[in-house]
Symmetry: C2
Subunit: 457 residues, 2 copies
Amino acid sequence: MPMMPVTDSMFLLGESREHPLHVGGLQLFELPPGAGPGYVSDMHRELLTEVDVQPLFRRRPRGPVGSLGQLAWANDDLLDLEYHVRLSGLPTPGRVRELLELVSRLHGSLLDRHRPLWEFHLIEGLQGNRFAVYTKVHHALVDGVSALRLLQRSLSPDADERGMRPPWSPRMRTNAADSRPRGEAPPFQGLAAAANVVRDLVGLGPAAAKYVNQAFREQSATLPFEAPKSMFNVPITGARRFAAQGWPLERIRAVGAAAGATVNDVMLAMCAGALRQYMLELGTLPDKPLVAAVPISLRAEDSSSGGNAIGLILCTLATDLDDPADRLAAIVESMRRGKQFYDGMSQLQIIALSAIPFAPLAVALVPGAVRLTPPPFNLLISNVPGPKAPLYWNGARMQGIYPVSIPAEGQALNITVTSYDGSLEFGLTGCRRSVPHLQRLLAHLETELAALEKQVL
Amino acid sequence: MPMMPVTDSMFLLGESREHPLHVGGLQLFELPPGAGPGYVSDMHRELLTEVDVQPLFRRRPRGPVGSLGQLAWANDDLLDLEYHVRLSGLPTPGRVRELLELVSRLHGSLLDRHRPLWEFHLIEGLQGNRFAVYTKVHHALVDGVSALRLLQRSLSPDADERGMRPPWSPRMRTNAADSRPRGEAPPFQGLAAAANVVRDLVGLGPAAAKYVNQAFREQSATLPFEAPKSMFNVPITGARRFAAQGWPLERIRAVGAAAGATVNDVMLAMCAGALRQYMLELGTLPDKPLVAAVPISLRAEDSSSGGNAIGLILCTLATDLDDPADRLAAIVESMRRGKQFYDGMSQLQIIALSAIPFAPLAVALVPGAVRLTPPPFNLLISNVPGPKAPLYWNGARMQGIYPVSIPAEGQALNITVTSYDGSLEFGLTGCRRSVPHLQRLLAHLETELAALEKQVL
């Protein structure tokens, strides 16, 4: 096994109890027709027979664990599948609330570095004839977007397909290219490609962090606002809170059509209103509006590959405004200006700027790096496009899929949404200590969408 | 808050992912008559109202977390009881097997150092009209024996008593002296007192480790055997396996009476036979017999306080012998010689030797300490006396209580037993990687006891 590229080992060396660097995904499934009470535990037993594990899921860090210095990857010849593939039950009454509590705990503990850096949790006891899967993979193996894609690709659009393989199997039904170890994988379009480039920047150390920081300032300077200090921009601890819920894209599109806004704009307005209400209740709303960092897909002008590039827009959330429609209008305008900022830029420039969403992570990873004061933005809100049609796992229909992300030093809350089967799925991941009562944001998201519907429809 | 004594901070500084230094206890309870399906979650909700927390359970380490140097304790003013007091469910079918799997996982993850160093897990979904409690406390707060006592003292011998307080409440019904922070607590009789002394020795660093090691060699020299290298005497990882089961003391006493052996001797013979069978199956049984380190209570000759002292006996497990009765006889003889070794010793000498059970821990904690080769013993087997009568928690009868201990570097398996209500309760804690199929040992323990019954009764 080769030495790790420094870009991989950074994610291992930069990790601590306070900053676990794994990404996660939560999937909800309907039990297929005729499934008995032993369906999930039978599935668990069956998954444990899938002992053929592809290389990515057999890698573990070798060498002085926890110490400084270059690390190497080793193949785990003693892979203990029972350790990685776990069955959990929910306490009664088995609502989504109990599920989110469990996922919060699972996401807050570190992966064991003596083993391949992943866990796959089957969860039974969920109300409404459902079960759940929570998957946890270290960022040194795959980034969040690739992890979501990997989960999606292990499913089938065919409700009648059986004999499907789990994500760790080398015989997975679809092309498993994106699950290849980093550095060996072909470039992946979209956010993941940006992430790859950014990892290289991160690998360059403090110089890159400084460069990225400069790009921020440049964009900030073109905008009529800057981010206030907020409760989210603090040192974080290791424990997590996770909340998740989906909303019909139809409702969001209807609001967008009436207000001249995109789905992304309305999603941001929902976040804005929810965050305002949440911070008002806690008495922590800053006078100045919150600023979100929002990655968007951009067509590169000089792209010969025809691919996409990702730009980062610093967008006001207009949390100083009282009226939902006013907030949405401010967000639409802010996003328009942000996109204008990228007009006529080269792909290289865009790629350089695309480093920005990962900058807080980069800065936190560089030992001794200076904390940014004031914060360049208050939180990262990403929207990762997902599959439009329903997907199935051996006949069990996936109801929803929610990203579980990485809060970073100075970025105690992360919102990542993804679309699936006519629904926009929100995953909110926060530092447990800094972001209390995270689940309240779910209720506030609904309140905000309903208010927008009332105003603009 | 004062700086920590170095003996406390050693347990924090010496901790790593591979060597979590918390102790645990698993308690099984019967649901009281008339308990509905919401009994355990109601109890959880009620426990969350017990926000008055005694100082020991409000302490957290302050200062540079994870770094070297003296640490201080701080009071956690933001104590988040919901974080510490957790409700979990078991997957179906909810056997003891699923419970042990969950406890293994819970015991293998590190406590969050940003918070007071304890967790209290209520576990529902256990077959046979039962529920369980797993408690986890950092060794820097209390040692294992004190933790067990603390759990016991929070219970009542009265089945009709209600309104009882949880272990973290300062208004707990019984005298809470032993749960006082270390250094402030009065000396506790028995094993805990020895542990206190030993912590002081540990605090002295490498010199003490060397001294303790010397004491070992002295005792070894008087014995006709020495410990072979074995599968248990290897570097360990952070994940754990835990297995637990109780046996009627009546059965064990009957064998002892017929064979001229103590309960402790028969317990050791059960372990010996079980370990022999286990290692035979794995093909790892050494030619030379395994040696157990067994702490025993000794009457000190010059004790004016009339208290007990603890001595450590290096006892052969006679795993080279095929016959169960022969093994028991060898153990009885070995224990007799071991006790003889302490005859006429001063209390000081005994206390010095009592450092031995903790020596592997001490050695592992001292940076750069030399690994002992060959191992001074193969595993530590402790017997902590417990209450004779049944205990209740607000009307729920405790069925069993099992110690969950700390495997150490070079000591991948720990067996701790305790007695309760006519039963001898075995808790086996192992490194998950080094000690596969730990639960097989439970079946072998029964096989061995049955074989002894057949031979000697």
